[in-house]
């Protein structure tokens, strides 16, 4: 469950954003649509606690988290928020398996290999677990980053343009997987995109 009220953010005096209030309950999904320059990534970073809002507040799991210090925000994020980025980025020197486990390790959680393997089977990239991430296709990489975001059973999954580099078939696959997986752990799923193909996939939508 995640919600925001009166969120504002200013990069400078001239470049300010104010965002509509959003709310996404557990197991629900929300699509945030907007063209480039409307502050999609800024909103996502605010919700991910990567940026601190100029004013307004964010609630995650009934707790106000909008004004935490950087260290506290890092802890909350590591435990409660799974993020999927537009381009799937990884630690290039590590294997697929280790990249997924990194999520546990950096959040100071026990490293659950079994879970990683289970997710890899569900997202059908189990045969690639020992490869380097750069050896995988874009679609496969995006599925790995979904698995990575699920490792700590987060309350909220935030996806930033998860489909912009994918073809129609892979887009369909990724969206279905995202919905299935977030529902299975009871998390809220927020997808931020300009990809019009996703319009029909989500009933709750916000336009920037």
């Amino acid at each position: 469950m995640i919600s925001s009220t009166n969120l504002r953010f200013a990069y400078s005096a001239k470049k300010t954003f104010s965002f509509p209030d959003i709310q996404c309950k557990d197991k629900e999904t929300l699509l945030i649509l907007g063209q480039s320059g409307k502050g999609k990534t800024t909103l996502l970073h605010l919700l991910a606690l990567l940026l601190k809002p100029t004013s307004g507040d964010i609630m995650i799991a009934q707790k106000s988290v909008g004004n935490l210090s950087a260290e506290e925000a890092t802890k909350v994020r590591a435990k409660n928020i799974g993020i999927i980025y537009q381009k799937p980025h990884f630690v290039s020197s590590l294997s697929v398996m280790d990249n997924i486990l990194l999520s546990n390790y950096l959040a100071d959680q026990p490293q659950n290999k079994q879970k990683a393997r289970l997710l890899a089977e569900k997202l059908s990239f189990a045969e690639h677990l020992n490869k380097k991430t750069s050896q995988l296709s874009q679609g496969e990489q995006q599925r790995v980053s979904i698995a990575r975001s699920l490792m700590n059973d987060p309350n909220v999954i935030l996806a930033d343009e998860p489909t912009s580099n994918l073809d129609d078939t892979n887009t369909q696959k990724v969206i279905t997987l995202l919905k299935e997986q977030s529902a299975s752990i009871g998390a809220s799923l927020i997808v931020v995109t300009h990809d019009q193909r996703l319009k029909d996939e989500f009933s709750n939508q916000v336009f920037l």
């Binding site: 990567l50 994020r77 590591a78 435990k79 993020i83 980025h89 630690v91 590590l94 999520s103 390790y105």
Partner: protein, 397 residues
């Protein structure tokens, strides 16, 4: 998964860069360590053999050459002096012992030294087998001579003229081995020792057949002198140099001079090694700096996933430290290989071996110095991790 594993994976990812940095460190550390080893062992070898010898007298010429040839048996002798002049020194109240030496022949590159029993007593050489020579033409041989020439007790051999293995052989007179010394670590190990008279016998015999030398006065090559007290040091060398046909050389002074001469070379090599180590540090710095620029997004990603900046800093630091540790141990191994090669060459040319491969105390300091360089070279570029803007870095790509 832990910081250590990630650092190691990062080093492996940049194999060539890591290899270059480690190689430079290996080279620098190896050179310094080799210099330390050589310096220590040469010093030990040189000091061990001059212990108890206060002065050497011999034919006029280079005093260093006299010391090298008479004590260490590595240079050509300066010439011969009359035995009577050497014996005259015995009467001097300051002189405790006079050990005359007569050299000129060799067997398979090992020098045959005619001397008195005082010589082996002085070097505390003990017999492993057999007995000391009694008569002329009987010899006792050092442990290295025995090992390399395969001579056994009772064997006979003909010496060759000169100190190289390829001189003319004195076929008419053969030496007989009566004893083999225990290894002592001193110059005795590489010598064939006999009575003074043997050397005279061999050459008188040769002269009958060949040249015309008419002088029947007995000659020796040099003599090792021990003083009764330090007063001798003050007066006798000057007397000898002024009043006799001989020269007096003081081993401690000549060896210090030799080390001063060597010291310039050692100093140069040491400076070179330090420069190489500095370059190794710069190489670690540059490769980490570059890889950090490439991995900026990775760092931001890990920070967003819950990593603290200190943990990432530690991770990058470990990369530099691991290179330092690898470079250090490879360098230590390289220096031992270098010493082994050097020793092999020295054994062939001079019959001296330098084979102590234990870790020196200075090398422990060297280890910490290597760690410090690794630390500095990785800490400087890694400090950027504390200034990294996570949101901007993630949004930029």
């Amino acid at each position: 998964m832990n910081v250590f594993k990630i650092s190691l994976a990062n080093l492996k990812e940049k194999k060539l860069n890591s290899f270059l940095s480690a190689l430079l460190l290996t080279l620098g550390i190896g050179m310094i360590s080799l210099l330390l080893l050589l310096n220590k062992q040469l010093d030990e070898q040189f000091r061990r053999n001059i212990r108890g010898i206060d002065m050497v007298v011999g034919a006029k010429g280079s005093p260093l050459q006299l010391i090298l040839s008479s004590i260490y048996q590595i240079d050509a002798p300066t010439g011969n002096v009359p035995l009577s002049e050497v014996d005259a020194l015995r009467k001097n109240p300051f002189v405790k012992t006079v050990i005359p030496l007569s050299m000129g022949d060799s067997y398979q590159g090992f020098r045959i030294v005619g001397t008195t029993p005082k010589y082996t007593e002085h070097f505390q050489a003990k017999l492993a087998q057999g007995k000391l020579y009694n008569a002329s033409m009987e010899v006792a041989i050092g442990s290295k001579v025995a090992a390399q020439s395969q001579l056994k007790i009772g064997d006979t051999f003909a010496s060759s003229h000169g100190l190289d293995a390829d001189g003319d052989t004195h076929k008419e007179k053969k030496y007989k081995v009566t004893g083999i010394f225990e290894p002592s670590g001193s110059v005795v190990d590489q010598l064939i020792i006999t009575r003074l008279s043997s050397v005279w016998d061999v050459h008188e015999h040769a002269e009958e057949h060949g040249a015309h030398e008419e002088s029947d006065e007995k000659q020796v090559t040099s003599a090792l002198i021990q003083f009764r007290n330090p007063m001798g040091l003050l007066t006798i060398p000057r007397q000898i140099n002024a009043n006799t046909s001989m020269q007096a050389a003081l081993p401690s002074i000549e060896i210090n001079r030799l080390f001063t001469l060597l010291g310039v070379g050692i100093e140069t090599l040491r400076t070179l090694a330090l420069i190489i180590i500095t370059i190794a540090g710069v190489s670690v710095f540059v490769s980490l700096y570059n890889s950090l620029k490439e991995r900026k997004y990775e760092m931001a990603l890990m920070l967003s996933m819950g990593a603290t900046r200190s943990r990432l800093f530690l991770m990058l630091l470990l990369e530099g430290l691991m290179l330092a540790v690898i470079g250090f141990f490879a360098g230590i191994i390289a220096s031992r290989v270098g010493l082994w090669l050097f020793s092999r060459a020295a054994e062939q040319d001079f019959h001296y071996s330098l084979r102590k491969f234990t870790i020196l105390p200075q090398e422990i300091y060297l280890f910490f110095a290597a760690l410090f360089i690794g630390f500095l070279a990785s800490a400087l570029p890694s400090l950027g991790i504390y200034r990294l803007n996570i949101s901007r870095t993630l949004a930029e790509e």
